[in-house]
Symmetry: C2
Subunit: 377 residues, 2 copies
């Protein structure tokens, strides 16, 4: 093969499809879903509404939203075998258990085998409700509790916290989770959504694609940043030690976690909403030191901002989860709850005029050679 | 965004990485693993040897092969929870059950959380042995039988057939399965291997990547061809009806299954070995009609060969499985058994100098618009 073939490592800058779902302007630090600024959605909307918007393309009318909400609530059911499967592997990482349960749903619910736009949307609604239930059921089972039933009076975020903790969340706690889900709901051809599209490209069903997305999100370079930031905050310990920590990292040419993003060159526009959440929650709970440490790290990193090293969305979310008393190994599963609508609509788009996604590798192995029998080696 | 951005639909013709594992010359219809012709490997080698070759880059010496074989045999163990999990979803499609069990292994076996070349190879060896065991256990459980234990006197292919059927295969039956696995072992950046690389690109572990590969292989446009060909053969019924069947399909501009491939313009070089297998097996078993129908379809399709519509590897494999009395829904799982070494080595390659695989979509949705409150819609 010719040596002047272009290798697009990481497919950086390569466009593989058009998409009408979200627009990311990485140079300007802007993000919109279906034409609506992420800032408007984070401050004025709800996860249910954003989910509808992403999947159907328009904000719902009150009647449409009520109907969509009813569908989501009706879908808060797990086949009984799912609890058995969770119990059988309860000591595993919650992402592995979640992925196993979603994969099992494909085997347990015959509707999951259907393909096409309508089937993807219906199966997507079911999974949107089931994913937080699975995570909450696992948390209960591994702690020796019986999973609680869903509460039909609660919205998506509040019901998730209810099922996770077995106690009703305050309004502000539920709203913070709601905003978190809105901010994570969709982000173009990120690795997990792209991998899901590769799976759909073979005409696989939605459950298979979501399983792929979960496997891909689980990688530390994708969904793992919130957990890594929390570990960093614990390591730093107090705001006055942040500058020295950053200096040591930069001198060793190591990355400071929570900074930089493949797409954004300015600050990730989602970060500000989580920052405000951390600040408020820390004050409310009498634990302002976490926010102070984070901001001290940001200050110490400011000289590198012009090189594109700005905070990303996951810089702040870990501290919120910590203040809510959520175990660190649930941070990535929480990301998955939020990302469901984005994965679903990316899969819906992919199956329209579907095409197999199959790039090429350039061979750089040995030249052709003769086989040598085992006894002659 | 500019309209003159190039969209690489399906990433057709896009190189994303170099790979030293297999070389596919689609124009010439040639395939080699690590410099060895697929024809030599299919006629002179074994799956164990090819697996070693793919993963380590060189054919093993007798001592290396004995050691590798001992590792594979020692890995023929499933945690007891896996049978419970299979039983909990036994009525599902075998690909969904297989994927669920592999996903659960990640939760049950702590070593699966390790990353890096050595960990990928060790976990890969374990999965290579466990995947056929899971498929066989599922087949036993769904038919009310107790799964049989692995037989350490048997090689990989023979042990698979033993565990599947509960009776020892003949030498020629085992050899045909062995050749099938060799032919399916590796094929560059095919959709499942590519998807697995996307998962590894986020620094995920091998089990996650194999789960992704299984989800992606399950799509009818990737692993499903053998099953579709078998359905076509049943529909045609006898050799004299093949020409009319092909004419009807071509007139309706519908694809004839088992013909054509994204990469090959000439006959898929793997096809000839399966063709010879079908012919011999049909004669041995007194059922030559399947081969006759297949060849009548090839004859009827010959005018389209110059357009690149040649038989691919899966055109013949389904009939072999049928003659072996294997249910149709196990055809894709069998493909997965064979493809394990290819998936493993593609993941090993990806994690060397790893990079996030994250392409772009070009936004074609609505322009920026103002948020309208729910009550005003």
């Amino acid at each position: 093969m010719s040596d002047n073939v272009k290798i697009n490592r990481g497919l950086k800058g390569v466009y593989f499809e058009r998409s009408g779902v979200s627009d990311i302007d990485g140079a300007a630090g802007k993000l919109s879903y279906r034409g609506y600024s992420i800032h408007d959605l984070a401050t004025k909307s709800t996860f249910e509404e954003v989910s509808y918007l992403l999947i159907h393309g328009e904000l719902p009318t009150p009647a449409e939203l009520a109907d969509y909400d009813a569908q989501l609530k009706a879908a808060r059911v797990l086949p009984p075998q799912i609890h058995d499967i969770i119990a059988a592997c309860k000591d595993g990482h919650p992402m592995d258990v979640l992925r196993t349960a979603v994969s099992a749903l494909a085997a347990l619910e015959p509707d999951s085998q259907q393909v096409g736009e309508q089937a993807f949307i219906e199966n997507g609604i079911r999974l949107t409700s089931q994913v937080p239930m699975i995570i909450a059921a696992h948390e209960a089972i591994r702690n020796g509790r019986t999973p609680v039933a869903a509460d039909p009076t609660l919205g998506h975020a509040a019901n998730w916290l209810w099922m996770l903790k077995g106690e009703k969340p305050t309004e502000s706690t539920a709203r913070l989770a709601d905003v978190d889900f809105i901010l994570h709901a969709e982000h173009g051809a990120n690795a997990s959504s792209f991998a899901a599209r590769v799976t759909v490209g073979t005409e696989a069903n939605l459950h298979g694609a979501i399983v792929t997305a979960l496997s891909t999100l689980a990688g530390p370079a994708h969904g793992g940043a919130a957990e890594d930031v929390m570990k960093m905050v614990h390591e730093i310990g107090s705001p006055d030690k942040a500058a020295a920590y950053v200096k040591t990292k930069r001198t060793a040419r190591e990355a400071v976690t929570g900074f930089g993003h493949r797409v954004y060159r300015k600050e990730d526009p989602r970060a500000r909403h989580m920052r405000e959440g951390v600040r408020q929650l820390g004050e409310e709970m009498g634990a302002p030191e976490w926010y102070a440490i984070l901001q001290a790290v940001v200050e110490a990193m400011s000289p590198y901002a012009r090189h594109g090293l700005n905070v990303n969305v996951d810089f702040y979310s870990g501290v919120i989860y910590q203040l809510h008393g959520i175990p660190m190994d649930l941070y990535v599963p929480i990301f998955a709850i939020g990302r469901m609508p984005g994965w679903i609509i990316q899969c819906v788009e992919q199956q329209r005029g579907n095409i197999l996604i199959r790039p090429l590798t350039l061979y750089n192995g040995p030249d052709m050679r003769d086989y040598v029998a085992l006894e002659d080696r």
